[in-house]
């Protein structure tokens, strides 16, 4: 059951933001998966979950269950700091990616129009809050799109003082990664000309400034990429939660006291059963948890006990701009063009649809030959038709 009838391939959102991919090609219709399968897809919004009555109330109807898997993801959590919720841009959906691109173009246009030297500096200054996976890739994509995508269309940009700043609270970027990966990412960002401020936090935002714990940055744009929160329907469950609303699960990814309810992905706070380390909130971890739960239910159904959950990472990939990235594969960490190529190959192969793979390759080849998309596409995400489908039936 899902409120959308497509699966968003989140890791490829970067390539939408930097004008290399059409937004349609990062989503895969769920009905494509249903062909020749023995499961059914219900397009509906989850309204509440009653764990005791074993029933889920949805916009379509109420559905009883024997086994429940909660995989409802998360959304960006913007903290209640002065001006933050008003000014910060999130980055979580295709419309956020298009909004980012639109805003970068607007900012460059605004910088071109003003005669005030301070404003001319503030408009092309972009601050990213958060130095985790999303934050560093976001900063790299902003820098890449402006220097590679917009330079050809906006020749005055060559003299513009473009500035991209990443602000992270931890002492290093990617605090959940190995130290050498973290160092290599920082080095790659700084080589691109991106400022990395670690060990600092954002304390407030105004129309013209971003305030940090170590000073004020004159900037008109803040992108927020520091933390997620579980959806309300998960937060409202009468069970033990972490501060971000994620449900704390046992070493079989089940809720304590409810052995028929599994929680996976960003909605869950899980630990590796052998090391006790928390499982990171990444697409890779979510997919592996989904596989585990499928196997665990099948084992239980066959009368065999399921093994406790272990998180075995396959590696770590980050796209850091034009023909550069960082890859961590087992004990090896490397950067530059090989990491960039590996990033594209892995996400191409991970995409479950052959049609989309072909379209993605065509998009990437065309953008290399003909240049990036520099047109603005404005979207109204509150279409009345969409609301009508998900309205509760009375």
């Amino acid at each position: 059951m899902d409120r959308n009838n497509d699966m968003l391939f989140t890791p490829l959102l970067w390539t939408v933001a930097n004008g290399r991919t059409s937004p349609n090609n990062v989503v895969v219709p769920i009905r494509d998966f249903q062909k020749d399968r023995r499961f059914h897809v219900l397009h509906a919004e989850v309204e509440s979950i009653d764990l005791d009555r074993k029933e889920v109330r949805t916009s379509a109807d109420s559905r009883p269950y024997d086994i429940l898997v909660i995989a409802l993801g998360s959304h960006t959590d913007v903290p209640d700091l002065p001006g933050l919720r008003k000014h910060a841009f999130p980055f979580h959906t295709p419309s956020d990616a298009l909004q980012l691109r639109n805003h970068l173009i607007d900012a460059i246009e605004a910088a071109h129009q003003t005669d005030d030297p301070e404003e001319r500096q503030a408009w092309p200054t972009f601050v990213v809050g958060g130095a985790g996976d999303t934050g560093i890739e976001l900063a790299a994509i902003i820098h890449d799109y402006i220097t590679t995508g917009l330079f050809s269309e906006y020749p005055w940009l060559a003299d513009a003082p473009v500035r991209v700043v990443v602000v992270g609270r931890a002492e290093r970027v990617l605090p959940m990664s190995k130290l050498n990966t973290s160092n290599l990412v920082r080095q790659a960002l700084e080589q691109e000309g991106i400022e990395v401020l670690t060990g600092r936090s954002i304390t407030g935002v105004t129309d013209t400034t971003v305030e940090t714990s170590s000073g004020v940055i004159p900037a008109r744009t803040l992108f927020w990429a520091a933390g997620t929160t579980a959806p309300d329907v998960v937060r409202q469950l009468p069970v033990q939660h972490m501060r971000n609303g994620a449900v704390i699960v046992d070493n079989h990814l089940r809720i304590a006291g409810y052995p028929d309810v599994y929680v996976i992905g960003d909605s869950a706070w899980a630990y590796d059963s052998s090391t006790g380390a928390p499982v990171p909130a990444t697409a890779q971890a979510t997919r592996l948890q989904g596989d585990y739960v499928g196997k665990a239910i099948a084992a239980e159904y066959a009368g065999r006990p399921a093994r406790p959950y272990r998180y075995m990472t396959l590696g770590h990939l980050a796209l850091l701009g034009r023909y550069t990235g960082v890859a961590e594969v087992g004990p090896i960490t490397f950067g530059g063009l090989p990491a960039w190529i590996l990033w594209h190959l892995v996400y191409l192969l991970r995409n479950p649809s052959w049609t989309k793979r072909i379209r993605l390759v065509v998009d990437w080849l065309l953008s290399s030959i003909l240049g990036r998309e520099t047109g603005q596409l404005r979207l109204d995400t509150e279409l009345p038709q969409h609301r009508g489908v998900l309205e509760p039936k009375t």
């Binding site: 059951m1 979950i49 086994i67 429940l68 898997v69 995989a71 739960v293 099948a298």
Partner: protein
């Protein structure tokens, strides 16, 4: 030269027609095989497994169970 262009165009049109026919036959096959799962069949199933969310995790669970 014209002869080659005409041959190329004919081959492209032919390939498009064959592709269309293949897609149609695939669609007809799927139509005949597809059984809509009604609320009734869900409720009367022996074990009702409900997966909320069809992102990476939800779909991986469904596909693994289908295997």
């Amino acid at each position: 030269m014209r002869k080659y262009l005409a041959l190329g165009a004919a081959a492209a049109v032919g390939a498009a027609l064959v592709g269309r026919q293949l897609r149609r036959s695939g669609l007809d096959k799927r139509r005949s095989e597809h059984v809509s799962q009604t609320e009734e069949s869900y409720r009367s199933a022996g074990t009702r497994i409900l997966i909320l969310g069809a992102g990476f995790g939800g779909l991986a669970s469904a596909l693994k169970l289908d295997q």
